[in-house]
Symmetry: D3
Subunit: 252 residues, 6 copies
């Protein structure tokens, strides 16, 4: 993703069009969770907690297979103006549901549920500060928390057998076209200006798990779609390395 | 989409891999709605009602712009076994929210809200019978109901000025890879078997409005993605013709 | 109900005061439901689906008796102006509850729950288009769907023993006094003008299951009540014949 | 209602078949309410509070007409075993809705909303102890509380003009057929045994406001219906006298 | 609490600052409840019903221990102006929750759950009329209803063994500082004027179960706190006697 | 609070009975909030965000007075085992309501609402990790966030006039008696073992705002109450210093 035309565009935060924001992954941010990560994509800050429990929901009992699910939420003042709590409103909004389901599907794509055995891992992704890309940061961080929870499960004997539970890693990034220029990892100010906005979830080996492209202002053609997919693959290949580096560090 | 390899595959309902199910669009199925369509994709049957009201929600007043939104729902016995009503459960599920939002976004992609003026059109898409592809049938039918409601608005003087309100048509279709074969317009039995499942929303001129691809069982690579997109574009180009034919018929 | 005085009144739709609207009962409107009927009383159109499941709610287990219940609902654009969905509002209105309970009671009046055995039949009555008399059309159609579901249960061995499950048929009709004239089967325009409005549920053998009379504008006396009951019995005797004719047709 | 056959039947509480339970109406049971009555039909005890407020709901503003509405509820331990609170369950049951609506309609039948002017009266009917006939006791007591609230409104100048606000009185009673004998004012033990159960709301001048008859176990014929209506009219004529006597007493 | 300074203050209702309102406790106000009390603190009137059921919630099964819990609620017209029902609003307010929990904790402080055995007693405290001190009246009355329910449990063999179930009595009273004068048992008019408001729950032997002091308008110092605690202990010692007198009366 | 008997007690974390856990207050933890603090009492970690908005709720308009309110919540994995989200359950629990109200009252005790003018400050206190004392940490941190929001309001001209908005500081601490020893600032392991548990809210000048003492296992006497109050005042005097030190640091 280094075409002459885009390399000269200057973004508000000084990045090149194909450059990620600074990404940091802090493991073990919580004392009690079996896996926990504070992930930051620039100013976007998401706390991902993995809760490991033996047993599975009733509909899965006796299957020999585990279950991984996720819940996404945003603190009321994660955004520039305060929004009402969903617990106070008494109902969960469509956007929250949609993102929770996306995170869960993305993680299940790299889990071998038979190797996990009848155990459940719930990923809570709470956005502490939102500046665009909260769902992609959540997926990227949740994978690391999930990996730690799987390690915990093996260490504590809840996951039996030597089979590999995680078949691959998974990360996600947003891409969009702004004033004709395809850009990687959009902060809020870019997100609202994008004509086309795409969230792409990719495995460590470079295959797609989810492709969600939306024409915000104008439909997009096949060429634009191809450029955006290239850009996304470039971003997730970098994120996969950052995830691996974080997992290579000894736990505190 | 007529490669030698796929043309010989036999589907349970006798279709070729790149063939749509029989599609019928019955306009004016309701007496009172400003636009209404009973759309059928094979056994999938969706009632799309467009309600035109003058005025817009409070947050849009004074903008000179209109608003189009959609609500999707499924009757309890649309499916092979009965499911509980969301009104009885007291909460709307994530899937319902997600599809309602998708339909709304798809229609707004082809509406010029300034030309619509401060009017609101609500599309109710109620699935009477579900056999896969309910969201794609809903989008395809809702566009026709929307077109009729726009015509109503012009005829009754609520939409003023000669500007074109609909900038293009829009339709949607599902595609998936089953046992290695890419297939168009999946009924329920195929949908549950697909490795990859994609819903694609396309304008009449062939641009993308939404691309939502999900790896159900195994991540998919770039080549598979490309084949699926080709297949989807083939399907939506046929749907665009069917929509136009329906709209060309004189209303009763 | 052919007194000289009323036979000369002209109704807006050309009917005589003691005449039903055109009634049509289309069986097997759905592919999957164990019984399903699209019933029409003039423009009022209700989809009645009967879902047969083996087993009964917990409180009835071990009783040897079955259970029949009903849920009534209206699509948002069934009416001349759109109304909000109860699933979106998060609560079911009093009117919906009241009619669901009425339909359930009416059907249970003709079911021998011991002959049904420990099976449950749920009747979903969804109003697709409303023009007065939706609850009476729902009861009339639901009976036919119920009869089909009972036949299904016998054919599939879920209902054992040769005992008659349905002890009688049941249908319902509305009656009212408009400008001093008692009238049968009121469409919406007549319903809102009626001084007294009565819904009467009657068995095939002519006994009452429910009598619900309400003084909308002025209390009514004993004579008026008697005339309305006569008129209702006249209507339900015709409906019983229409139900029987529908059931006599071979299923597709 | 004094046929030889029924006068000899002995009821569990020693009453004749056509005899009301002891009825007491205690006015001004609350200090603050504009009208309040503790009404007792035997052991059934309902607190009826009328709240008078100037102004009407938005949809009625400018009409010059007032509004009367009612809410019915039951304390958790009003019954022989405790039932869960609807506030705890988070939703109002169908039965509660149905009875609230019935009470409201019954009272509106004797109110001249134009004479009331743009004022609202809300009747809260809370069942403190339930032993059958709670809805009929509620209507009977609520009328007296309503009358007191109307008097309050006139005295405090909120109701202007000399027009009569209450056009008649209204009371209600239950009747049923038990083992072939028609009986008046059923306590719980009789209510559960009744084949047919009817609640009848009647004005002081003897006209019907509501007739709600339900076949609990077996459909009923025209003759039975007629006998029950006679019995109900006999009961409500006595209740009308008891209401008048209560209103004739000087307020404390 | 008989300091010279306070004994001369005249309260609106003629009481001395350290004087309770007239307190009456009417037992067996309901026919069916295992214990029931109508308690009055002046105009404040609370119906306390104790429901005894054998068995305990699932999380307590097999523990050999019983459970006591409470629910507090207020009728809509208990107050000087009508408030909306929580069942209608669909959610329980924070104040209701808080007081329900307080009553439950207060009663559990004097219950030996092992002596109670695996039985559950639910206390429903419904405020029929509110004039300040509803939570303290509720606790005081609920104790008496609880004592009657325990007696019922022993008499009917549900509570086995001779161990004492109630280890002490418990009552509660409010105190506050108004214009510099500490006062006991505040009615509504005093409550709203108090700078500091405290609810104190005390056992029959004079120990504290709960102390809840709140600075309504100005923080309070240690001396004021001490004076209020003295005053509260004076009040609860009187309430303990009134409770005992009520329990000494033979049940009807 | 340095009596010989308690100074020798060894707590699990090595503290003396009258010693606070390490307390840290990190200001400006969020970029967008007008005031924000990450407060830590040992392992308890609460994010307090103050949102300043011009204007007040409708019921306060035209009063010239501002409004301060608070919402408390806990992330699902703040605790040692995961708890369900209140947004998913669809209702806010009693404990959450109770603590939200307590925080709001505590802050309002040190705010001069007239000096604040018609502005609203909402404090969101989200517990990221819970190890006892979450409500006291929340109050202590929220005060600092509130102070920053007030400074913001003055700097941006929303708070007019030179009057002091904050009349004092406020902090809170828990105290309890464990095995006969009064202890300050209880972590979770001590909290569950405490016989008596008290939360005390105190101003910077040493006056009480709230005193909430609860006998968890055994009622407590006056002497115990006095010792606990002494201990609490000792703790809050230290917290007041820590708050001031945090506020003295220059903002980043």
């Amino acid at each position: 993703m280094t075409s002459a035309s885009t390399s000269q565009t200057v973004r508000a935060d000084g990045r090149a069009p194909d450059e990620l924001r600074p990404v940091t992954i802090t493991r073990n941010w919580l004392d009690a969770a079996e896996g926990s990560v504070l992930v930051e994509f620039g100013r976007t800050r998401v706390l991902c907690a993995a809760s490991f429990t033996e047993g599975v929901p009733r509909w899965r009992k006796g299957s020999g297979q585990g279950w991984v699910t996720a819940e996404y939420s945003m603190l009321p003042r994660a955004t520039s103006t305060r929004s009402d709590r969903e617990s106070v409103k008494g109902r969960i909004g469509g956007r929250t549901h949609e993102i929770s389901r996306l995170i869960g599907r993305s993680l299940r794509a790299v889990i071998d549920v038979s190797a996990l055995g009848e155990n459940t891992i719930v990923l809570d992704c709470d956005v502490l500060q939102a500046d665009g890309g909260t769902r992609t940061a959540a997926i990227t961080g949740a994978y690391v928390a999930l990996a730690d929870a799987v390690t915990w499960g093996k260490k504590h004997g809840a996951i039996k057998g030597g089979k590999k539970v995680l078949t691959d890693s998974v990360s996600a990034v947003s891409v969009g076209i702004i004033d004709g220029t395809p850009m990687l990892d959009l902060p809020y100010v870019e997100d609202v200006r994008a004509d086309t906005d795409m969230n792409v979830v990719v495995t460590g080996s470079g295959d797609f798990v989810e492709v969600q492209g939306t024409a915000e202002h104008a439909p997009f053609n096949r060429t634009e779609l191809d450029v955006l997919l290239d850009l996304a693959l470039h971003g997730t290949s970098e994120l996969a390395i950052i995830q691996q580096l974080a997992l290579d560090e000894a736990s505190r």
